[in-house]
Amino acid sequence: MLMEPRLIEAQSTAPPARPVYEIQRLSKTYARNNLTALTDVNLTLRKGEFVSVIGSSGCGKSTLLKIMAGLLPPSSGRVVLEGKPVMGTRPDIGMMFQHATLLPWKTTVENIVLPIEIREGRAAAKAAKGRALDLLRLVGLGDFGNVYPSELSGGMAQRAAICRMLIADPAVLLLDEPFSALDELTRDFMNMELQRICLEREATAFLVTHSLAEAVILSDRILVMKPRPGRVVEEVKIDLPRPRTLDMINTPRFGEIVAYIRDLLGREAFV
């Protein structure tokens, strides 16, 4: 793998894909303590793109994700998914959290069709069970459809959570530190699984993470954010070829990119 130490310039040759998620001049101020959580965030997610946001706690990345999920209203700016403004939660937004949050009284399959059950009722959920089993096979849990979550390991539970996120075939995947509660080996493995699933489905994904290595290995672009006020200071394109492998972590190129972003975040990010 020979690559020049270019970092910022784009190296795309194909025409850019259709924009899926567009954010313009987004700001968020909490009226209660007059805190500016986000200021002037601009972002376009294109079809099939994987974008991460990284920054220290308090940089507003969780606020950004919540606004993108329709869980929180913005103070100003435009937030548009598939041409329609995001004004509340929507079925075409898939979400994943730090914990799998599977309901322990439902089987794996019943957990996966929960979004359908909530939005369209029991009959629709029942009809979606076949699709849920297909998804379970996609993540390698084909035999675990009828077990309860207590019988799943942490990694397996997160894979089931991936299925639950995908069941409604969302236009965008919002990932809130999805594997940060897993041990490191499982986490590496899950990241590669996530890449495979995203490539296979041409998914458009947005990841919030604390881990530099995770962001670099998964992303096409990384937004580097800084706090007080929360803002995007730079957008770094990751020119490692796809599909990515864990071996790439040991390449000099990977090291350069990580070093560059760490430098951007600066010392202040960690105090």
């Binding site: 959290f97 949050t101 322990p104 009284w105 939005r119």
Partner: protein, 282 residues
């Protein structure tokens, strides 16, 4: 000759042992404690250290246990009394469960309930509730209804608090999940908060089952009637202490039956709470 250690090649097996007192199985431990307590009890009465009116001997108590047991089995007046108390306890429990659960949902689910209802509930809960017994008797008379009311009144608060706490138990992540799925308040309550809160609610029901017994018997002490409480008071006023002991023991069986019925339903209902999550495999 080599100077290899003489133990070369031998496995170093050793066994970790608990102390003797930690190795006694439950059945034996319970038997030992029982025998010790009865032996001391027997000694105390046999030596005449305590008057038999205050503390009857184990033998007298056993005789009365057999007498009362025979009376219960043959369906004599004691069975009628026990049945009256059972009905009182069951009605009291069901009313407490219905009111307690409803108020618990109001307090746990709505801000109004939390802000307006909860402070009054706490205020009433801190009062000695048994002191309300004369009021219930004045309002409802000397028949079973005043006892049911007192029993329900004493037991309700535990269920309110447990239900409200149970509804708060769902994690921030789970609430966010339901919000992101567009779940309505009702859906979130029924599909997330209620099932998550069930273990709490059952704990409240168990506490209530104890309270309901106390309430029913207190009501029967103070308001007369035909229940077991009246029998106990009657025997006590006749200085028939062994009879009081025997009646209390049979009464406790009623409390135990109620408690374990609830525990059994809990195990059937909350199958997912039985075992802890196994360690991560990968």
């Amino acid at each position: 000759m080599t100077d290899a250690p003489s133990t070369a090649g031998q496995d170093t097996i050793w066994v970790e042992r608990d102390a003797l007192i930690d190795r006694i199985p439950r059945w034996l431990a319970m038997t030992i404690l029982f025998v010790v307590v009865v032996a001391i009890w027997d000694l105390v009465t046999r030596m005449g250290w305590v008057s038999p009116i205050i503390l009857p001997s184990p033998k007298e108590t056993l005789d009365d246990l057999i007498f009362v047991g025979r009376n219960l089995i043959t369906g004599d007046y004691m069975l009628t009394a026990l049945w009256t108390t059972t009905i009182t306890v069951l009605y009291g429990f069901l009313i407490a469960a219905a009111i307690g659960f409803s108020l618990g949902v109001l307090v746990g689910e709505t801000k109004f309930g939390e802000r307006a209802v909860m402070p009054y509930l706490v205020a009433i809960d801190t009062m000695p509730k048994i002191a309300f017994a004369p009021l219930f008797i004045a309002w409802l008379g000397f028949d079973i209804s005043s006892k049911v009311a007192l029993a329900a009144f004493i037991a309700t608060f535990a269920i309110v608090v447990a239900t409200a706490a149970g509804l708060y138990a769902a994690s921030e992540n789970e609430r966010m999940l339901f919000k992101s799925m567009g779940a309505s308040r009702w859906q979130t309550l029924i599909q997330l908060k209620m099932p998550t809160g069930l273990p709490y609610i059952f704990t409240g029901l168990k506490i209530a089952s104890v309270g309901v017994m106390a309430g029913a018997i207190t009501g029967e002490f103070l308001g007369g009637g035909k229940g077991f409480g009246a029998l106990i008071r009657q025997s006590a006023s006749q200085m028939n202490t062994p009879r009081v002991f025997a009646l209390i023991l049979y009464l406790s069986l009623l409390g135990l039956a109620l408690y374990f019925t609830i525990a059994w339903i809990q195990r059937r209902f909350i199958f997912w709470n039985k075992s802890e999550r196994p360690g991560a495999i990968g």
